[in-house]
């Protein structure tokens, strides 16, 4: 049943703006990013004894990561980075183009990253991305992490285990997070069955978030029928101690919240949270 949660598509290479397939958002040229700011990056992980090279894209100036504030974006469960490329471009425009560096990467099995996705190697690839940023000079006080849908799991994992990853985020943003694999199963099966009956995934963001002490911005479309506000995002938000803010968007569906909110309003709201 794990295949219901991971839904990757392989790619030979990334096409970014030239990609003709379905994408997460349809952006206008207003949010274009010059080629000089786009950097293909790689970082290896060991998964079940085999080396997998994680593919990533950094938008910004890699030579100034030691002084920049960087957003590490953990994408959702669908396809690959080409699908989510419009989102990365949007975030690159937060506070003005290049104000923040943005790193995105593909989990194993997604896009040009080989292998098959598991919860463990999703966290391992996030760890590798953090290590890459750390080696470039990033420090925890300038690291922001954002997770969309499935990507909320590695963000909660890292933020909930302070000191156990190469860097700790100073703030986190969760868009359409899911509460736990067990709730997904119970929603899908109607019966109150334990999640372990169906999936190996142990993802439990609603519990993990209880250990997170850095500020949270929660964004969720009220019409999200895939991960509902009531069954998912609200549980995570309610369990979060300390500083937290929420943005609920009427009419927003799982993928469309930035569009419904207005792209500029969407990134302005995130930039305000980061800049506070």
């Amino acid at each position: 049943m794990d295949s219901f949660l991971f839904n990757p598509s392989p790619l030979e290479t990334y096409l970014l703006d030239a990609y003709q397939g379905e994408t997460s958002l349809n952006l206008s040229g207003q949010y274009a990013v010059p080629d000089s700011m786009i950097h293909r990056v790689e970082f290896p992980i060991i998964d079940n004894g085999e080396t997998i090279v994680i593919q990533g894209i950094y938008v910004g100036d890699t030579s100034s990561i030691s002084s920049d504030t960087v957003l590490l974006y953990c994408h959702g469960n669908k396809d690959h980075m080409d699908f989510y490329w419009p989102r990365q471009k949007l975030y690159a425009h937060m506070g003005g183009l290049g104000r923040y560096g943005v790193l995105m990467f593909d989990y194993p099995g997604y896009g040009a990253t080989k292998g098959s996705p598991t919860e463990e190697n999703m966290y391992a690839s996030t760890r590798a991305a953090l290590q890459w940023l750390k080696e470039k000079g990033l420090t925890s006080n300038r690291l922001m992490m954002m997770g969309f849908s499935l990507g909320s799991a590695p963000v909660c994992e890292v933020a909930g285990h302070v000191g156990e990853y190469p860097l700790d985020p100073s703030k986190i943003i969760l868009e359409a997070p899911f509460a736990s694999a067990e709730i997904l199963i119970q929603d899908g099966g109607l019966l109150s069955m334990p999640g372990s009956f169906l999936v190996d995934l142990k993802i439990d963001n609603a519990t993990e978030i209880k250990k997170v002490n850095v500020p949270l911005l929660w964004i969720h479309g009220e019409d999200d029928s895939f991960l509902t506000v009531a069954h998912h995002g609200q549980l995570v938000y309610d369990n979060k101690p300390g500083i937290k803010e929420k943005v609920l968007i009427p009419g927003g569906e799982h993928e469309t919240t930035p569009f419904v909110m207005g792209y500029q309003s969407y990134i302005d709201r995130i930039a305000t949270f980061i800049g506070q």
Binding site: S180, I183, G189
Partner: protein, 223 residues
């Protein structure tokens, strides 16, 4: 592979076995679902079971689910098929059952009671050469009924209140009854009173945004 567990098997026995009769059976099929990378298919549940006719109106049976075993979950049911009313070619049967599930790795377990009711009608009966001690007929039967699962647990994950204590489904089927072998084809409308929208699994349904469709095959060998 237990999502929509209440839809993982068809009616076990549409009508009771003869007194003293044994039966082994196998059932295949499940809720029709869009499976990533595979398309829209009935989820491949399978089970095998045994039944025994205690009397002309009461059969007891037990079944074990083979597919769930592959995933480390033991799932069995014990049930009965009781016929409180019969007239000529038709009858009504009631089938109480207890579904028992145990995760071999975590120890997590569940007990879900079930009560099915079916009406059947033997629309054609062909009498063939009598065989001593055995049913000499070939009977074709249509049936329809309701299956009711009961979820007695008060809370779900994260302390959420369980709001689905009763999960009904409707079934429609056909049975080809032969001397030793019975064959069964059944369709279910699973959980027609519940929305299928806000869940991660995509269930096509005859009722739009409600319920799901189930498709099943069954075979019985009587001796």
């Amino acid at each position: 592979m237990l999502i929509f567990s209440f839809g993982c098997a068809p009616t076990r026995y549409v009508k009771p076995l003869e007194r003293g009769e044994h039966s082994v059976n196998a059932h295949f099929g499940g809720p029709v679902s869009k499976v990533p990378g595979m398309g829209t298919i009935p989820l491949p549940f399978s089970s095998i079971g045994y039944g025994y006719g205690l009397s002309e109106d009461l059969t007891v049976t037990g079944n074990i689910y083979a597919t769930s075993l592959l995933f480390g979950v033991g799932q069995v049911d014990v049930s009965a098929c009781y016929q409180p009313w019969k007239k000529d070619r038709m009858g009504i049967t009631l089938s109480p059952a207890l579904n028992i599930l145990v995760d071999f790795y975590t120890g997590a377990n569940r007990l879900w009671p079930q009560l099915d009711a079916n009406y059947y009608f033997d629309y054609s009966i062909y009498r063939s050469r009598a065989v001593e001690g055995r049913n000499p007929k070939r009977i074709n039967t249509v049936y329809a009924g309701i299956s009711n699962w009961f979820d007695p647990y008060l809370t779900e994950s994260q302390g959420r209140k369980n709001e689905q204590f009763w999960i009904p489904s409707l079934q429609f089927g056909h049975q080809w009854e032969r001397r030793h072998w019975d064959y069964q084809l059944e369709m279910k409308i699973l959980a027609p009173i519940y929305s299928n929208e806000n869940i991660v699994v995509d269930y096509p349904s005859l009722l739009g945004n409600y319920g799901a469709l189930g498709a099943y095959l069954g075979v019985h060998y009587k001796f």
